[in-house]
């Protein structure tokens, strides 16, 4: 069939997947280490986007300043959630923490809309025109988004696999009791983990907001694809989460000539279910995992 069509579809899916990969990584880090799906991830994305846009406007339009403000804000928010709420649910059934996270999601959304209203906001970024690259039509801002996402992911991986902190995080995820007997303070390690997860989540929200618009519900709605990506890649496996996000993103777009645009979301979930049936632990059983 038409190669140019499929190439463009795949490329679009790649960009979408790259954006969803960030909250997927955060979800999988938290699930791997703390043992529950953090439903507040979506609204931390939203908070990060709002903070970044506010920051960008306050800093005379510098998008870099906005990104920093937004990521720091969401990192701190995630840390606060851990210190004030999730910390107390450790060792209890994960259902409690899940319900608490849903509550935090709603609380965050209500607080945001109370102060900022329901109107949509956009990042004041100049529009760029697409250029052709072979059969592909590429919009420059999409390349920036892809690069930012890749950069953030590389940083997270460096942190996890090269630094002593990352090693301890993986140790705590692997065997919390043993970590304790080794003298590892899980509290410090977990605090660091939540900061990182929060920053990555916020960045995902910012990229999503740059590509689309910032609305109070945007993060909550991105939660399901991120969750699907995490499941597809194997819980607790950051590389898997990224691969899952890209797979779902690309597969969805590629399916549209056959199933239409409205069913493509179903395709993403169908892939996740199929993969789970064939390989319940997730697609990727890499030896080096968070957990």
């Amino acid at each position: 069939m038409d190669f140019a069509l499929f190439a463009n579809l795949a490329f679009n899916g790649l960009i979408e997947g790259a954006v969803i990969a960030l909250p997927a990584v955060a979800l999988t880090l938290v699930f791997g280490v703390m043992g529950f799906p953090n439903a507040s991830t979506g609204d931390v994305m939203t908070a990060g986007a709002y903070a970044a846009q506010t920051g960008q406007i306050a800093m005379a339009g510098s998008i870099v300043a906005g990104v920093i403000v937004g990521s720091v804000a969401s990192a701190l928010l995630a840390l606060v959630f851990y210190l004030c709420v999730f910390r107390f649910f450790q060792g209890r059934p994960s259902m409690y923490a899940l319900v608490a996270s849903i509550g935090l999601a709603f609380a965050t959304r209500s607080t945001l809309t109370f102060f900022l209203g329901y109107d949509q906001r956009v990042f004041p970024i100049p529009l760029t025109r697409a250029f052709s690259f072979g059969p592909l039509r590429i919009v420059p801002s999409d390349l920036y988004i892809l690069a930012t996402s890749v950069g953030a992911i590389v940083l997270v991986f460096l942190l996890l696999y090269v630094t002593p902190l990352g090693r301890r995080m993986r140790a705590v995820a692997d065997n919390p009791d043993l970590a304790r007997s080794c003298g590892i303070s899980s509290h410090r390690v977990l605090s660091a983990m939540w900061l990182i997860a929060g920053a990555v989540t916020g960045l995902g929200g910012i990229l999503f907001g740059i590509k689309t618009v910032i609305t109070p519900l945007m993060g909550w709605e991105a939660l399901l694809p991120a969750f699907a990506a995490m499941i597809l890649g194997g819980i607790g496996n950051p590389a898997g989460a990224i691969a899952g996000a890209l797979t779902i993103g690309i597969a969805q777009e590629l399916s549209t000539p056959f199933v239409g645009f409205t069913y493509k979301i179903g395709v993403g979930f169908a892939i996740m279910v199929l993969a789970l049936v064939l390989r319940p632990s997730g697609l990727f059983n890499l030896s080096a995992r968070v957990r």
């Binding site: 090693r167 043993l178 003298g183």
Partner: protein, 252 residues
């Protein structure tokens, strides 16, 4: 005494698991602890390492009262402990297991990671050297980059010993180090323990393999049903009729 347990008592509900148990580990000695199943040996270890709180008694580590310290604090104070079923960080490699067990790395906290990268890098380099030496000592060089979950039972025990050593302990509690280990490896383990002892580490060892243990330790204590029934040189203790009776008349 490097480790001193005085009049330790512990109960599960009404059941007295430990009844007025006292035990000392002199510095640079290997002390053995034996007894039939259910005597309370593992519970004594649990109380000593801080995973259970005693009803009564005190525990002193190199002159410091650690009775009310949690396991993390005790580990930091110099108490190391291995487990009957070895525990490791399954997905981390042998090397990473040892690196993770080193205490007080600057690079563990987020801020110093960014603010003092040079110090982090130097510490890391020193640490890796130390770990490399340890891996060679433990004879695990062949598997140093394998995920530790796929090691054999004996290798896991060696790794566990290594992990404990990373914490620079003063005294090490060994919980059945020879259980489930093939005989060839047992000799190797015994050698390692002796070498470490020569370097200055003290040990308290629970074991059922009485032959291997009597070669190793200088003093042996025997527990039965929560109480200490005999203490002394290994040969004397093993000949003690009380001890033989406790093992139900079996030949020791």
């Amino acid at each position: 005494m490097i480790l001193s347990l005085s009049h330790v008592a512990f109960a599960f509900g009404d059941f007295r698991v430990l009844d007025d148990v006292s035990l000392d580990v002199p510095p640079k000695e290997i002390v053995g602890l034996i007894g039939p199943n259910g005597a309370g040996k593992s519970t004594l270890f649990a109380v000593t390492s801080g995973f259970e709180k005693p009803l009564a008694g005190t525990i002193m580590l190199d002159g410091r009262d650690i009775t009310h310290d949690g396991p993390v604090a005790r580990a930091r104070a110099g108490l190391g402990r291995t487990f009957q079923v070895p525990r490791e960080f399954r997905h981390l490699t042998v090397r990473e297991n040892l690196l993770a067990a080193a205490p007080n790395q600057t690079g563990e906290n987020l801020l110093p990671l960014f603010l003092s990268p040079r110090r982090v890098r130097e510490e890391e380099r020193a640490l890796r050297e130390k770990v490399a030496d340890l891996i060679a000592f433990l004879n695990l060089t062949a598997v140093k980059d394998t995920p530790s979950g796929s090691l054999s039972g004996g290798q896991k025990k060696l790794l566990e010993l290594g992990r404990v050593l990373m914490g620079d302990p003063k005294v090490i509690l060994l919980d059945e180090p020879f259980a489930g280990v093939n005989p060839v490896l047992i000799d190797s383990l015994v050698d390692r323990i002796r070498e470490l002892n020569a370097q200055g580490y003290s040990f308290l060892v629970i074991e059922h393999n009485l032959r291997a243990l009597s070669d190793l330790c200088s003093t042996m204590h025997v527990m039965d049903r929560g109480a200490m029934i005999a203490s002394g040189a290994p040969s004397a203790v093993l000949d003690d009729p009380k001890v033989q009776e406790a093992y139900m008349g079996g030949v020791l």
